[in-house]
């Protein structure tokens, strides 16, 4: 008797027999059906819940049954393997379910107002009894505010990350990295308050005859504050992943450090950097509080991000969802759907662009 056979009793295979019995799919399905049936009987028999509890209990019974039955047929190790695999699949489904549910709710409720009027008109002169009205002004606001914020945050963030990875040594770099980490956790309302007290109340009066005013640009500033740490951190991680020998390869050709960074390091890390930037853009596009605080929102179209209140999609959703009009919720759902669609399109476009630049397909 080998050591394995003696010490590990559930080993079915021996040196003389390397084959093992497999549980058939039919048995597996049988266990699943039986588990669901028992769960249904228990739940409805005692009247303790509805179909959700049946599914949950069914999964638990299935896992237990799988362990017992498969253990009889295939041995304990194979049964554990089956059970853990089933557990992982269940966890995966559980994780995807809310996401699928969100998408389904958005599409099913948002499709009602997907018409030309929604994308072609604002909320100007729309009263509580009017079914029309649209988010044209909010779409413009979101695109302008997030666009300007991206234009400011991406160069700053990427350059900051390059400093931290390629040049930063000693105390100063450590301090910068620490504050970037702290900034990652700033609540968006605090960023909004900062811009409100600094830009709207102190700086904007200089450009407006001494009167403070809301503007889309102020919202961009607040979004920049929120995007910066995300971009710096993700870019930093991506740059650190670029192997040192690549840099040395370029140095050994007599290429200066800045050119090595621009032509070798950044292109290598580009797909990852783009992913990080898009995460930041998506977060910024979904922010409501700072826009409410410093851009104020508006019912009419305002193309100028530097003067006057401006709407944004997320703020539009917030306001319509809380509106008393019976037509408002439909507008809120469609606006939410539009916002998700914009972020999705931007992300896909950015990924395609980043991939076309690199040779590795």
């Amino acid at each position: 008797m080998s050591l394995l056979e003696r010490e590990s009793s559930d080993v079915v295979m021996t040196p003389d027999n390397i084959r093992t019995k497999r549980m058939s799919v039919v048995v597996n399905l049988g266990i699943a059906v039986a588990a669901l049936a028992i769960a249904a009987a228990v739940v409805y028999g005692f009247g303790i819940g509805n179909y959700v509890l049946v599914v949950v209990l069914g999964v638990v019974f299935y896992l237990a049954g799988l362990q017992i039955v498969a253990g009889r047929i295939e041995g304990n190790r194979a049964a554990r393997d089956r059970m853990v695999k089933a557990l992982i699949y269940a966890a995966c489904v559980l994780a995807i379910l809310p996401l699928a549910s969100v998408v389904w709710t958005l599409v099913s409720k948002g499709v009602g107002r997907l018409d030309g009027d929604f994308f072609g008109s604002s909320m100007n002169n729309i009263g509580a009894r009017d079914p029309e009205g649209g988010a044209y002004h909010a779409i413009i606001g979101t695109l302008e505010q997030v666009g300007i914020a991206t234009l400011m945050a991406v160069p700053l963030g990427v350059l900051g990350a390059i400093y931290l990875v390629e040049y930063g040594r000693g105390k100063f770099a450590t301090t910068v990295r620490f504050f970037v980490d702290v900034m990652t956790g700033i609540p968006s309302i605090v960023a909004g308050l900062f811009i409100l007290s600094f830009w709207v109340l102190i700086v904007s009066p200089w450009f407006n005859n001494g009167t403070p005013r809301f503007s889309g640009f102020a919202a961009s500033l607040a979004l920049t504050v929120l995007m910066l740490p995300t971009i710096v951190r993700s870019t930093e991680e991506m740059l650190r992943l670029v192997p040192g020998p690549l840099r040395e390869g370029a140095y050994a050709l007599g290429v200066p450090q800045w050119k090595t960074i621009v032509k070798v390091v950044i292109p290598t890390a580009l797909p990852g950097i783009v992913t990080g930037v898009m995460l930041a853009v998506a977060r910024a596009a979904g922010e409501t509080a700072p826009v409410l605080l410093v851009a104020g929102g508006a019912a009419s179209i305002n193309f100028d991000p530097f003067a006057g209140g401006q709407q944004s999609l997320s703020l539009f959703v917030y306001q319509q969802a809380g509106d008393a009009s019976r037509y408002a919720p439909a507008r809120a759902w469609t606006a939410a759907l539009t916002l998700v669609a914009i972020v999705l399109v931007l992300t896909v476009a950015a990924k395609l662009l980043a991939r076309r630049n690199s040779l590795s397909k």
Binding site: R169, P245, G249, V255, V264, L359
Partner: protein, 258 residues
């Protein structure tokens, strides 16, 4: 165009750790010099000191003087990129730039240093790939990614990239250690061919390779872990491998080390 290198009392440090202690040697132009010795004895550190690649690592520094045709490359007014343009380097693992094609990899050094003319770049690419014995294998797929080649081809690509900028000296840090015997042979052939134009210094763990390719051989060793590496003996390869002066050298090359 090949140049003479003279190291006198070179000591390299990583922070407070002394990696090599007072190495002096003269490398004549258009020769191949092999550096051999056990792992951790400072061969690579010394090699990296010759083109100032040592200082890329944080807290690394060097003492002593290293001259190339009478110019000390460690003088404060020396431009480090100029030194590296003069002294090229091939690394242990092939490191083609992953975002560039084969063609772009070969001309990377020229292009990034400001050469723009297409005809000049095309010529340089073809000449360097031919010198690196790679032209026939890749001439039909110059636009494909450099990282898609086999290991041996990648290493020859890196050699082509290095000689495309026409350095005076080529440093090779165990260039064949990740390659099969056939690719190794191809690179050794290549070294003989390049000897007419460049001064070559190669670090290798393969004693037969050192004996086959080099004119002179330097043997590095350490007494025990933590001690700095020292140059034990430096002489004609013939002499080192048949009748070395030092007992340590003889022990090492006959495999009786330690």
């Amino acid at each position: 165009m090949a140049k003479r290198i003279e190291a006198s009392n070179v000591s390299s440090y990583y922070g407070s750790f002394k990696a090599i202690d007072s190495v002096s040697m003269v490398v004549e132009p258009k020769t191949i010099t092999a550096l051999i010795g056990p792992s951790g004895c400072g061969k690579s550190t010394f090699l990296r000191s010759i083109n100032r690649m040592h200082e890329v690592l944080p807290n690394a520094r060097i003492e002593g003087s290293l001259t190339i045709d009478e110019q000390n490359i460690y003088d404060p007014d020396v431009d480090v990129t100029a030194v590296r343009r003069l002294i090229g380097m091939v690394f242990q693992r092939p490191n083609p730039f992953p975002t560039m094609s084969i063609y772009e990899n070969v001309v990377a050094g020229l292009k990034l240093n400001g050469v723009k003319k297409k005809s000049v770049l095309d010529d340089a690419a073809e000449q360097s790939l031919k010198s690196a014995n790679l032209w026939n294998e890749v001439k039909d797929r110059l636009g494909r990614p450099g990282a898609g080649l086999s290991g041996g081809q990648q290493q020859r690509l890196c050699i082509a990239r290095t000689i495309a900028v026409e350095p005076q000296v080529v440093l090779m840090d165990e260039p064949c250690s990740a390659l099969d015997p056939i690719s190794t042979l191809a690179i050794e052939d290549l070294m003989f061919k390049l000897k007419d134009r460049f001064t070559i210094i190669i670090v290798t763990h393969n004693m037969q390779q050192a004996a086959r390719v080099s004119d002179k051989t330097g043997f590095f060793s350490i007494d025990k872990t933590g001690d700095p590496g020292r140059l034990i003996e430096y002489d004609d390869t013939q002499k080192i491998f048949s009748n070395p002066n030092e007992k340590k050298t003889e022990d090492y090359i006959t495999g009786r080390f330690g």
